[in-house]
Amino acid sequence: MADTLQGTLDLLILKTLHAGPNHGFGITLHIQTVSQGLLRVEEGSLYPALHRLERDKLVKAEWKTTGNRRRARIYALTAAGRRRLGEAEQNWAALAKGVGRLLRLA
């Protein structure tokens, strides 16, 4: 259970990258806009998390030049990352359901 909660940031990152490769700043923006400002990711947690995912081979990274001719480190999902995303989504759904029930009954 605790793993699931801690893995939330990983889930958000993986889900964001599912939409397409992106750099760190893009990921913060994406999460912020898609959640309509409800979720904000601190850089202090984002980059260690990204690198942890990279170390665990769930994402891969590459230096690329962006549209504005700026060099950025672009992260993309790997096959393992895609699988992990599937598991994480299921876990999250189960967790949300469980927590929802608990809140209704309590």
């Binding site: 750099h23 760190g24 700043f25 923006l29 601190e42 850089e43 202090g44 980059y47 260690p48 690198h51 942890r52 170390r55 504005n68 700026r70 060099r71 950025a72 480190r73």
Partner: protein
Amino acid sequence: MRRWLRRKRAREIHEEVESHLEMRAEWNQREGMSPEQARAAARRQLGNAALLEEDVRRVYALPWFQTIGQDVRYALRGFRRSPAFTVAAVLTIALGIGASSAVFSVVDRILFRPLPYPDAGRLVSFGMVAPSADKNEFLIAENYVRLRARQTPFTSFTSFGFISPCDLTEQNAARLRCAMVESTFLPTFGIQPMLGRNFAKEEDRPNSPKVALLSYGFWKSRFLGDRETIGRSILVDGRPTAIIGILPPGFELFNLTPFDLLIPEAIDEAHPGNGRAFRVFARLKPGVSLEQAREAMQPLFEDELRTIPPEFRGEVRMVIRPLRDRQIADVRTASWTLFGAVLVVLLIACGNVANLMLARSASRRRELAIRAAIGASRGRLLRQSVTESLLLAGLGALAGCGLAWVLIRFFVAVAPQGITRLDQAGLDSRVLLFAIALSIASGILFGLAAVVESPPAGTLAEGRAFVSSRGLLRHVLIAAQIAASLILLSGASLLLRSLWNLEKVPLGMDTDHAVAAHFVLGGAYESETRWRTFFDNLETRLQRLPGGAAYGITDSVPPFGGTRSSPYFVINVEGRPPYPQGAGGMVGWRYVTPGYFAALRIPIVRGRAFTEQERDAPEMPIILSQTLARRLFPNDDAVGKHVLRTGSGEWHTVVGVAGDVRNNGLGEQAGPEYYVLRKHVPDDTFRNRAPGGGWRAATVIVRSPFQPQAVAALLRSTILELEPAVPVTTETMRERAAQLTVRPRFNALVLGGFAGAGLLLAAIGIYGVIAFLVSQRTREVGVRMALGATPSTVSKLFLRHTAAWTAAGTVAGLAGALAATNMMGTMLFRVNAHDPLSLFAAPAILFVVALAAAWAPSRRAAHIDPVATLREE
């Protein structure tokens, strides 16, 4: 390769964060901020970039492992930058750990380890002491037998009848050490034979079949540990003896003397009165204290006193003491002194470590403040500091272990025989761990002190000229070290003075170029004809020794051990009434051949030495020592007088008076002594009352101008040619005399070593503190010199400072030294514990060392270039 990868990754992470910042700034700009605002806002939002980068980097490392490596690397770099500090700290810790663990390992064996007997606390040694006889208590057989029957406070009461040489007279004959004990001896000590059994009471009687127990070592070496040895019969001194048991490997006698056989002492219970003496041991009944036992035994002892010859009675007293006390009596003061010395050294070392760490932390306040300012977390600084301390402590501990090992080897090598259990001393792991733990704890403590007193925000603004608030503590530490060193130095100088006095004591003979050979002929020489043939042949050969050598044959050799003795009052002078019974103590005497005096260069001050002709003549010549001659004939010449030396013997004619010779060590005055001529045909006394090995024992002394070792070898081969089976021990007289000062020399050496170590540590401490002060006050000195101070006034400033604190330490130290040396009384010889010379010399040495240590850094201060210092700010 790994490092390269790590660097590359670090660069990449940095770039990534920078690119993030730029993108965020761009975004902000698009939201309508000015470029500067945008960039500032981006930074603000990101927070501490350095910390972030470190967090990211940490993803790739085993969490603490890598940073430890980093800390260690950083620490090592720091050490390399200040080698003086590092060497001083490591040396200090090593000395502290090394010396304390080595000495404790040695002293622990002597003072604190239990004796190897079950419930050893209840074992006591009992007996009487007579100052003129033996410093250890003993009992005469008939007293022993009665006391054993009447005693009440002990569960058992047993005796030990000394160790004497005996011969294994079979194939591969060997001289053995036979310890004679009563059948109750082993049970009293609570020892079971490892194999076989102890002797039964019936076997411990005169004329019962001979039995023996073997020591483990002898069993292993002679019988190769064969279990079938039990029940075998061996020939001991020509008599068949059954081996009935083997002693366990760890067994040791109460006095730790080595032995091979344990044989029954066979007291003749019906007629014990043949003058045999025993060591007596007993086991206290449960619940009976030593005091109660003493009270119970005292009246019984008073009864026995009546049977003791009156000449002894006055000076005899009863002794009952724990076995441990008896065993370590000689080395107790020395051990405690050693122990105290090492504690003092440890204290000085701790003071040094504290001082060094304090100085270092003070000089690093700026560095710490900078590191904190650019984002090092407090925890990180703490860990860094502790890592450094641990590293120092670790290095010191490693060096300390090595030092301890070397020191123990050294102690064992130089220690005199008979320092209890020293040969068993090994590096004690508990002690070592304790010392290492202590050094690590002190390292961490002072490492923490540096950080916990975390640099205040103002530190950076302080510039370089701040004066540490901990200056006072530092100086008090230095003064304390001086005081401690002073105590060590005074102790050491007292011991050195004692040693000096001991070495100066005249022995009364010339030990240079004299060699002694000792041997005991085998049982076959009980035959007087064989005995005479042997010695006649030996003397013929000795006369032909090259180099015009003088030789003498005697039964005992000065300056210690084994002299025959008889009560003074039995000596009667012709024409005078006999002395009253019991008057005058004891007189030593020995049988010598005419050459004895020439061989040892003992001067004949009156009359003449013995002549060869007298050896076959019926007359009985005698030579008195100066002291004895003065006592017997205070007013006239002794030469030509007639004396009786036993109550019933023949009249002897005094032919000469010889110079006094030391026979009982160096401590007391030379005792009275006389010499009787060793004739070709032994007289009755010679036959009956010879010490150690009987009349078959002899010592040959040879004086020769040749190299003494060579003469010793020649002498040995001369004896062996006549009787190949006799074991011969040789020693030069110089070696023999040196044995008297071995113990004090060892004490002086060890305490001197500690005083040296303490002095060295104190010097390191003073050097460190003054060097630190100089570096801290560089700017002040620069200003002073700019205002006109000369180099000499500057260096005097620091030297005065040192002198002041040394003086403070000296005053405290003198008080301590007076108290400490009081306890050393028994180790001193002809030196007062408050010997003014020693007590003045020690502070003088200290002052010289302190000023010398402060000299180098204060010279540095004198050479400060004022312009350069002031520009530096």
